[in-house]
Symmetry: C2
Subunit: 335 residues, 2 copies
């Protein structure tokens, strides 16, 4: 529906506005000679583009600024492929080469890496457990009536569940529960196997029941707030002139649940980019989100993303997110 020249003009306006942050006028579009028409013609086209909803006017006699729809068009028609650059590639390589065992730490550092690659805030959602197998299980007594159930997964993650111990539960019962859990769960995929309860030992059966409930209940409540790692929030401070915007964005980033749902919403879109209003959160009207899932063995287990202003460098962010998510997946598969 947009002819060739209008497309070029629109792209140019968006690109330049991303670069400068200023409204773009007709003469700027024409300046570098890529389009061989006069400013007047460009003006006419820009008026059309505005009527179609791709551009706006802050006020008469200012240049044009892209709308969410304009950015959307721009992103859907990006031609530059991978723009991460020599230096960025190397940093990602080094990072994952040096990455050591501990999962939480690695995910946290990954969010920092992504933030420093893109200069925006970065989010890493920890891998879900569906495809992981149980390496080890442990029930232990903390206090008179309080216990802790630990499930160690094959990627080194640990699920922990606080449980209540009935007064009748002796240490011997805890010990047999451990044996039973080990026998029944180790090697299985998490959350798949319902626990068999021994008919002849009521205390043991009760304890196992509590454990089973704890695990099931918590799987419902996923994702846990501590499964999200946000890095580079400080960078948001410079991206917006209005203090209030900064405050609102930061406060969104503090709410893990919102962040997770943002990412998973965005994952369902083509191109994995949510622009301004597309995020579905009013406070993020001036922000865009770029996400990518990461996989272990062809299975999507988590997502990483970048949160920046709508006028962000999409090509670069997409490249960074793509590279990091791919490497992260590989790393997790290898571990």
């Amino acid at each position: 529906m947009l002819d060739d020249r209008k497309t070029t003009i629109l792209k140019k306006v968006v690109a330049e506005h991303i670069e400068t942050g200023q409204p773009v006028g007709s003469s700027h579009v024409v300046r570098d000679g890529a389009i061989d028409v006069s400013p007047a013609t460009v003006r006419a086209d820009m008026a059309t583009l505005e009527r179609e909803g791709y551009l706006t006017h802050p006020h008469t006699s200012a240049g044009r600024v892209p709308t969410d729809l304009g950015y959307r068009f721009f992103v859907d028609h990006l031609d530059e492929t991978s723009a991460l650059g020599r230096d960025g590639e190397r940093r990602v390589d080094q990072f994952f080469a040096a990455a050591h065992g501990e999962l939480e730490r690695m995910l946290r550092d990954t969010s920092q890496l992504l933030a420093s690659l893109t200069d925006y805030a970065a989010v890493v959602v920890a891998p879900t457990h569906e495809t992981l197998t149980v390496c080890s299980v442990l029930v232990t007594r903390l206090a008179e009536q309080a216990g802790l159930l630990l499930v160690v997964l094959s990627n080194g993650a640990i699920d922990k569940y606080g449980i209540e111990l009935a007064p009748s539960v002796t240490d011997a019962v805890v010990e047999s529960a451990n044996a039973a859990l080990r026998e029944q769960l180790i090697g299985t995929t998490v959350g798949q196997t319902p626990l068999r309860l021994p008919p002849d030992a009521p205390e043991l059966a009760a304890l196992l029941g509590v454990c089973g409930q704890a695990m099931a209940g918590s799987t419902m409540a996923r994702p846990e707030p501590n499964d999200v790692y946000v890095g580079g929030t400080a960078r948001m401070a410079e991206q917006f002139e209005a203090v209030n915007t900064v405050r609102e964005v930061l406060s969104i980033l503090e709410q893990s649940l919102v962040v997770v749902s943002l990412l998973s919403d965005a994952l369902t879109r083509e191109h994995s980019v949510a622009i301004g209003g597309e995020t579905g959160v009013a406070s993020l009207a001036e922000c865009s989100i770029v996400v990518a899932p990461y996989t272990v063995g062809n299975e999507v287990v988590g997502a990483i993303g970048v949160l920046g202003p709508t006028r962000m460098n999409y090509a670069h962010a997409l490249a960074a997110v793509a590279v990091v998510s791919q490497r992260l997946g590989r790393q997790l598969s290898a571990g």
Copy 2:
């Protein structure tokens, strides 16, 4: 050295500047009749206070603004005791009444509570382990040559250490290591007991050695970055007009190690308040930190704190930090 009236004037200047953020003039000080002298006299006194280093001048013909020393005097001579208020007390009560088992979650929520009580950023440093006993130990294999060592502590916290498994380590060896660790460590205070290595089983001894090293090494490296919980960072956005200040402060808050050392530095001071330059971090020249330790059984195990602008409400922050730290300690003792 400061006579009575100068003291009153200084306090009044600081209090008013905290409230309004504006430089305070001589007539403001006199306005409410608490000091029965003329503005001219106040001016003379303020000039003295300036010579002594308690106040400054943004420029001639502006009112006075407190220096770090002025704030210091103000804080050291606070007369209002506890200013948390009915409502705040109730919220703290409710919070700790509703607090449930899981440690990490509770600490994270505590930082949010403190932030919302004070309207500044809040920091909670997780309890150290010195006084805790080991409830359970577990070594498990994750992959061919990777394992995980878990130590469950009496407060529900979990220490985890990634370890390397030599190719010679069979599952049977892992099993005996588990038995040995359980036997030797359960019930002991963490980090106190050196592991006895069996002379007759070289593989087992080697594995136990690796475990011992992991635990010792990590105790050195304490505090771990994930032992710090920062809440309410969004609130910092409004506290400073200069974007750059906001950026710098946020970036400090992202560096867990710096945050921890800030808190422990501040803990050594009287009154547990570090003002501006006293923090020792250049980027925090316009910030103050209010901290309080929390204890379990008369032993200091951690600290909580609040980070705000130098012109923060010290009375309120001190009260909030005191109340929350006390309740947190009690909660941890009870669990």
